[in-house]
């Protein structure tokens, strides 16, 4: 009985149950759900956010957040395409683009960590400024039609699964392992729990914060590269919703705005729940515009339940 009580306290387990319930329900209610094509579609729709979500989870645990990832994604998709079209060899273009992502994140991280400006303001400015750079570099239109080799980055298949999906889930596994075990990554929990104590105990708090922002933007740039490769095109609209999607998944997964809590596993389940809800709407021919309402509701319900259970536990 004690074991049952204990396991239901774990956020990840409860999320896993929700995912399981949704999967079972959809399998029963729709003949198209449990098909290879549909599964592939779900994984595909999750992939971009999944690439960024691991780093965003770490950022949240440390007490920060980043609203600019969508703009960085769009900008870097455009940059890599522009570079390749100008004749840059693909590997070099990719490396340069990721470097640009790191620089963007480092600048924001520096302003937040060393100059001590609120991350909301900094990353919001980042969101706007980076978006403008995207538009400027694009010259006003989407750019596409690149040579075949570039699309291989995303579409190269291992065991019939394309690279962009493999990379997404591989990166989640890596980040999960690092956060649970690696001494440096574990410090994020201390930083998010009590920054002053963390600093007193010798954790280089400022360096860690900057690193987290650099990492998040780097993953956003990688997501942009995969996106451009997947569609052989860098579009002009960019990806303004990405931050919203990723942050929702991270909070669903158990992270708190205050920091100190959360896990990559939880975030992954959060991503799954969001993707499954979207898939359900498509399968049952419901208005896709209900997607955001559904996700908003799920988010509120999960957070309220979690908060009530927390309060009960503390009162005992």
């Amino acid at each position: 009985m004690n074991f049952i009580k204990k396991i239901f306290r774990i956020r990840e387990f409860n999320l896993f149950l929700i995912v399981l319930i949704i999967i079972i329900t959809l399998t029963i209610r729709s003949p198209f759900f449990a098909t290879k094509a549909n599964m592939f579609g779900i994984l595909s729709s999750m992939s971009t956010e999944t690439i960024i979500a691991g780093a965003m989870t770490i950022l949240f645990i440390s007490g920060g957040f980043d609203l600019s990832v969508g703009s960085t994604l769009g900008l870097c998709a455009m940059i890599v395409v522009v570079l390749i079209k100008a004749g840059t060899p693909i590997p070099l273009a990719v490396v340069l683009t990721i470097l640009i992502g790191i620089i963007i994140g480092s600048i924001m991280g520096f302003v937040i960590s060393y100059i001590k400006i609120n991350p909301f303001i900094v990353t919001l400015s980042g969101f706007l400024i980076i978006r403008s750079l995207h538009l400027i570099i694009s010259g006003g239109t989407s750019i596409g039609n690149l040579q075949k080799p570039f699309s291989l980055i995303a579409r190269f298949k291992i065991l019939n699964v394309p690279m962009y999906i493999i990379f997404a889930f591989f990166s989640i596994l890596v980040f999960d392992a690092l956060l649970r075990n690696n001494v440096f990554f574990r410090n994020n929990y201390n930083l998010g729990g009590d920054e002053n104590s963390a600093s007193l105990l010798g954790i280089n708090v400022r360096k860690l914060k900057l690193f987290n922002y650099a990492l998040t933007s780097a993953m956003a740039s990688i997501a942009g590269i995969f996106l451009a490769s997947k569609f052989n095109n860098a579009n002009i609209e960019g990806s303004p919703d990405t931050a919203f999607q990723v942050i929702t998944a991270v909070i669903l997964g158990g992270a708190s705005l205050k920091g100190g809590r959360g896990s990559v596993t939880g975030t992954l389940f959060g991503l799954c729940i969001m993707a499954l809800i979207q898939n359900a709407l498509v399968l049952f021919n419901l208005n896709i515009l209900w997607n955001k309402i559904a996700i908003g509701l799920v988010l509120i319900i999960v957070v309220v339940l979690d908060s009530t259970m927390n309060r009960k536990r503390l009162n005992n």
Binding site: N181, D194, N196, L200
Partner: protein, 262 residues
């Protein structure tokens, strides 16, 4: 080079906050191996003195020697590196982490082999040592895998103290360790302090509670309105607990005892 056994020796400490003089010309010393009580009413200057000794604030005047060497402590990290750990009332524990992680924060053991290359933490070994450490000083064991925010006040003190000792701090300053605790828990914390005395070079305890300090201290320094008004060595009061209590109160309040014989 000092020939006395003072591990902390402060002379002429003064601290002003604007027009308010929190401390004036206070001398202070901690002898090796002792538990020293720092008592006084509200506003006496106890907090200010302790903040100076822990590096949180700097005095306007005065010198401090730690282990015989004159030092300037500009921030808590300086005090920390000198071996002084201050355990404040709110304990500055990581509420979101369990007791093992609290004890090893910032200094986790790394595993062997592949774990060493990846810098993976040796969670098992840390857990075992944390448990041993806390068993040594307190029979009141915390729930192992729950976050410390769910622990009782006494258990949290135990975690904080274990962490201080693990980190090799030699001097521990405790700010009102029993203030928020009930009778049973207070008793446990006082016993715990007696247990750890041998693991440390010295302990300073700030408290309002004279009963408690009488139980565990060797000496008491009394402050009143920013001045040091007296020192009481418990050696001089063998078996005279009531006198000891009264004399301490006398110094704290500055009042003479009123005789009830009319």
């Amino acid at each position: 080079m000092t020939t006395n056994n003072y591990i902390i020796e402060a002379k002429g400490l003064s601290k002003r906050f604007g027009a308010v003089c929190a401390l004036e010309g206070v001398d202070f010393e901690l002898k090796k191996g002792e538990v020293l009580g720092l008592v006084g009413d509200n506003g006496a200057g106890k907090s200010t003195l302790i903040k100076i000794l822990s590096g949180a604030i700097t005095p306007n005047e005065g010198t401090i020697k730690v282990y015989g060497k004159e030092v300037k402590m500009n921030n808590p990290r300086d005090a920390f590196n000198l071996g002084i750990e201050t355990i404040y009332q709110d304990l500055a524990l990581f509420n979101n982490l369990d007791f093992t992680r609290n004890i090893f924060s910032g200094r986790e053991y790394i595993g062997k082999g592949i774990a060493k290359i990846l810098k993976f933490a040796d969670k098992k070994r840390m857990r075992i040592e944390a448990l041993e450490g806390i068993k040594k000083i307190s029979i009141n064991l915390p729930k192992l895998d729950q976050n410390v925010e769910t622990l009782s006040g006494g258990q949290r003190q135990a975690v904080a103290i274990t962490r201080a000792i693990f980190w090799g701090r030699r001097i521990v300053i405790m700010d009102e360790p029993t203030a928020a605790l009930g009778v049973k828990e207070s008793k446990r914390v006082l016993e715990m302090i007696k247990e750890i005395k041998s693991n440390l070079d010295g302990i300073i305890i700030i408290t309002h509670n004279i009963e408690h300090i009488i139980k565990i201290a060797d000496r008491v320094v009394v402050l009143r309105t920013g001045n040091r008004v007296g020192t009481i060595d418990f050696k001089d009061y063998k078996n005279r607990t009531e006198d000891l209590h009264n004399d301490i109160v006398k110094l704290i309040t500055g009042a003479e005892l009123i005789s009830y014989d009319v």
